[in-house]
C-alpha cells in the first residue's frame, strides 16, 4: 500500500507503562494537595494544568499516539481544537456581556 504510511506496530513495554503510572499517581497527589493551598486565581489554572499534563501522558503513552501515524495525532488535535472553539467562542459572548452595552 503506497499511500498510507506503514510502519511496524511498535509494542510499548510494561516498563514505560509503570513509569507513566507512577507519574500519574504523583500528579494526582500533587493536584489534590494543591487544592488545599489557596492560590487565588491560580488554583483553577494549576488544577487544570495538572489535569492536562495527566491527559497528555495518557494519550501519548497509554493510547500509543506517541508511536502512531501523524494523521492520528492530527485527528486528536482537531478534536481538542473544536472543543476549545466551543468553549472560547461561547465564553467570548458571556465575558463581553459585562462591557456596558448588553
Amino acid at each position: 500500500m503506497s499511500t498510507p504510511t506503514e510502519h511496524e506496530h511498535h509494542i510499548v513495554g510494561p516498563k514505560i507503562y509503570l513509569l507513566i503510572l507512577c507519574a500519574l499517581l504523583v500528579l494526582t497527589a500533587t493536584t489534590t494537595g494543591a487544592a488545599f493551598i489557596n492560590m487565588g486565581v491560580f488554583s483553577p489554572i494549576v488544577a487544570l494544568g495538572i489535569a492536562c499534563i495527566k491527559a497528555v501522558l495518557v494519550i501519548l503513552f497509554f493510547m500509543h499516539i506517541r508511536y502512531s501515524s501523524k494523521v492520528l495525532m492530527l485527528t486528536v488535535a482537531a478534536g481538542f481544537f473544536t472543543f476549545l472553539v466551543l468553549i472560547t467562542m461561547t465564553l467570548c459572548d458571556y465575558v463581553s456581556r459585562a462591557w456596558g452595552l448588553w
Binding site: 498510507p4 482537531a78 478534536g79 472553539v85 466551543l86 467562542m89 461561547t90 462591557w99
Partner: protein
C-alpha cells in the same frame, strides 16, 4: 471468463449476468448485508419514504396559508405540522440524503476500495436511521411535538406537554447514524485509497464528502448532549436552561446552534460534491481550479464551526460577540462564492450537453447563488434585526436547502442511476420534470422574500390580510413543486423495469466508478485498480478507447 475490455456502446449493451443486485436474494441478504452498495439502496428507499412524509406536511402548511384566517387546521396542529416538517426534512432527509445514498454507493468505488472501512458500522448506521425514523413517527402518531425543530428552551422544557422527549430521542439516534456515516467516510478516504490515488487525484466528490464527514463527526455530539440536557430538564424539573432557577436559556441556543450551523454545511457540501462531478462530466472538462474547489470545501468545514451565533444576533448576545460572529460569517461566505465561480469557469471552452443532471446542476447554480447571497443579508447584523424570524429567513434556507441541496440530490440520482441500476431514466420526461421543479420552486419561494421583508413572522398560521396575495402565489408554486417532485418517483420506478440498458459508461465520465460494469460487482473491481492519471482526465479516457481490443464476452 472472457475479457470485456472495451465499453460496450449504448445500443447493444446487456445487463451483466453477475452484479451486486443479484448476488443474493431474500430479505436476509438485504437486511444483513455488509455491501456499501446495498446499504445505499436501503437508504435510498427509506430516505424517499421520509421525504414524502415531510413534503406532505409542507403541503398542508402551504394550504393553511392560503387564507389569512386560521381556518384549515387548529393552531397547535399547525405548530405540530411545521415542527414535524422541520425535524423530518432536516434530520431524516437532508442530512443523510446525498452522503448516505450516493456517497455510500460511489465513494468506495471512486477511492478504488472494495468497500467502506467498517461495513458492519455502515449497516448499523442504516438501522439507527430507521430506528430514529420510527421514534419520530411514533412521536408524530401519538400526538406530535410542537417545539419547532429548534427545541427552543424554556418553551420546550417547561411550557409544553407534547412528545418532546420522544422526538429528542429520535433526533439523538439520527445523530449517531450520521456520525457513523461520517466516521466511515473519513477512515475510508484516509486508509483505503488504491495505489496511485494521491489526495489531488481524488474526485472533488470525495473532498466535499471528507469535509462533510469532519462536520458530522465533530458537530453532531454537541446536539446529542444538548438534547440529553433538555430531556433531563423535562424529567427532573431542574436543569441548566431554566431561567427561574438561575439557568441561562441562551446557553441552550449556543450549544444548539454550535451543531445546527455546521449542520447546514453538512447538508449543502454533499450537494456541491454532486455538482462538481456533473458539471465536469457534461462539459467534458476538468473542473476549473481543482485545488481551489477542493480547499474551499475544507475551508467551509473549518470555518463552519466559528459562525453559529449569527442565528442569535437579536437574542441578547453581547454586541461585541455579535461583531465577531458577523465578521466570521462573511468569511465563510467566500468559499461558496469561489466554488460557484469555478463551476461557471469550468463551462468555458467545454463541449456542453444538456442531459437532465446538467439541467438540475444549472438550477442548483442559479438558486444556490440567490440562497447564498441572501445569507449575506442575514449575516450583516443590522439587516438581520429586521429580517430574522420572518419569511425572509424561510425563503433563504429553502433556497439553499431545496433549491441547492434537493436539486443537487436529484441531479446526483439521475447522474448515477445508470450505475446503480444499470438502466437509463427516460430523458425527455425527466427534463420536463426538472423544468417544472425549477419553475415551481421560484414561484413558491421568491414571494416569500417579499413577504419576509414586509415582516410576516415565521411559524404564523394567521397573518394580516395584506400578505395574502404573496402567500397565495407561494401556495400555487408549492403545488407545482409537489408535481415536480412526484414525477421522478414515478419515472424512476418505471425505469427499473423498462428503462434502456445503460452499459458501463453512458456519460463517458472519467470517475473510477464509470470504468466498471453497471450495476457493479459486489467487490466492485476484479483486481485493485492502479490510479495513474489526474482526476478528470478526459484525454486518458479518450486514448483509453484507441488501444483497447474489442471482444464482447
Amino acid at each position: 471468463m472472457s475479457t470485456i475490455l472495451n465499453l460496450p456502446n449504448q445500443q447493444d449493451a446487456q445487463l451483466p449476468k453477475l452484479s451486486y443486485l443479484n448476488d443474493g436474494y431474500g430479505l436476509k441478504s438485504w437486511l444483513l448485508t455488509g455491501d456499501h452498495k446495498r446499504i445505499a439502496m436501503l437508504y435510498l428507499v427509506s430516505i424517499t419514504f421520509f421525504f414524502f412524509i415531510g413534503a406532505s406536511f409542507a403541503g398542508v402548511i402551504r394550504l393553511e396559508l392560503l387564507t389569512p384566517q386560521p381556518d384549515l387546521v387548529a393552531s397547535d396542529t399547525y405548530n405540530k405540522l411545521f415542527t414535524m416538517h422541520g425535524i423530518v426534512m432536516i434530520f431524516l432527509f437532508l442530512v443523510p440524503s446525498v452522503p448516505a445514498t450516493i456517497g455510500n454507493f460511489v465513494l468506495p468505488i471512486m477511492v478504488g476500495a472494495k468497500d467502506l472501512a467498517f461495513p458492519k458500522i455502515n449497516l448499523l448506521s442504516w438501522y439507527l436511521y430507521v430506528f430514529a425514523g420510527i421514534f419520530i413517527l411514533y412521536a408524530l402518531v401519538s400526538g406530535g411535538v410542537d417545539t419547532g425543530w429548534t427545541f427552543t428552551t424554556p418553551l420546550s422544557t417547561h411550557y409544553l406537554n407534547t412528545h418532546v422527549i420522544t422526538a429528542a430521542v429520535g433526533v439523538f439516534i439520527a445523530g449517531f447514524s450520521s456520525i457513523f456515516t461520517g466516521l466511515n467516510f473519513i477512515v475510508t478516504v484516509h486508509r483505503m485509497r488504491c495505489p496511485g490515488m494521491t489526495w489531488f487525484r481524488l474526485p472533488l466528490f470525495i473532498w466535499a464528502h471528507y469535509a462533510t464527514s469532519i462536520l458530522m463527526v465533530l458537530g453532531t455530539p454537541v446536539l446529542a448532549i444538548t438534547l440529553v440536557l433538555v430531556a433531563l430538564e423535562r424529567t427532573v424539573g431542574i436543569g441548566v436552561f431554566d431561567p427561574t432557577k438561575g439557568g441561562d436559556p441562551l446557553l441552550f441556543q449556543h450549544l444548539f446552534w454550535f451543531y445546527s450551523h455546521p449542520a447546514v454545511y453538512i447538508m449543502i457540501l454533499p450537494g456541491m460534491a454532486v455538482i462538481s462531478e456533473v458539471i465536469s462530466t457534461f462539459s467534458r472538462k476538468r473542473v476549473f481550479g481543482y485545488t481551489a474547489v477542493a480547499f474551499s470545501s475544507v475551508a467551509i468545514a473549518v470555518f463552519g464551526f466559528f459562525v453559529w451565533a449569527h442565528h442569535m444576533f437579536i437574542m441578547g448576545v453581547s454586541n461585541y460577540s455579535a461583531l465577531v460572529f458577523s465578521l466570521l460569517t462573511m468569511l465563510v461566505a467566500v468559499p461558496s462564492a469561489i466554488k460557484i465561480f469555478n463551476w461557471s469557469a469550468t463551462l468555458y471552452k467545454g463541449s456542453i450537453t444538456f442531459e437532465t443532471p446538467m439541467l438540475y446542476a444549472f438550477g442548483f447554480m442559479g438558486l444556490f447563488t440567490i440562497g447564498g447571497l441572501t445569507g449575506v443579508f442575514l449575516g450583516s447584523m443590522g439587516m438581520d434585526i429586521h429580517l430574522t424570524e420572518t419569511y425572509f429567513i424561510v425563503a433563504h434556507f429553502h433556497f439553499v436547502m431545496v433549491g441547492g441541496m434537493l436539486m443537487a440530490y436529484l441531479s446526483g440520482i439521475h447522474f448515477w442511476w445508470p450505475k446503480m441500476t444499470g438502466r437509463m431514466y427516460p430523458e425527455s420526461m425527466s427534463k420536463m420534470s426538472a423544468v417544472i421543479t425549477f419553475v415551481g420552486f421560484i414561484l413558491t419561494f421568491f414571494p416569500q422574500f417579499i413577504v419576509g421583508y414586509l415582516g410576516m413572522p415565521r411559524r404564523y398560521h394567521a397573518y394580516p390580510p395584506e400578505f395574502q396575495v404573496l402567500n397565495v402565489l407561494s401556495t400555487a408554486g408549492a403545488t407545482v413543486l409537489g408535481i415536480g417532485y412526484l414525477l421522478p418517483l414515478l419515472y424512476m420506478t418505471w425505469s427499473l423495469r423498462y428503462g434502456k440498458i445503460a452499459g458501463s459508461n453512458p456519460w463517458q465520465a472519467t470517475g473510477l466508478e464509470w470504468q466498471i460494469q453497471s450495476p457493479p460487482l459486489t467487490e466492485n473491481f476484479i483486481e485493485t485498480p492502479i490510479m495513474d492519471h489526474e482526476a478528470y482526465d478526459y484525454e486518458w479516457l479518450a486514448n483509453k478507447h484507441e488501444h483497447e481490443v474489442t471482444t464482447v464476452g
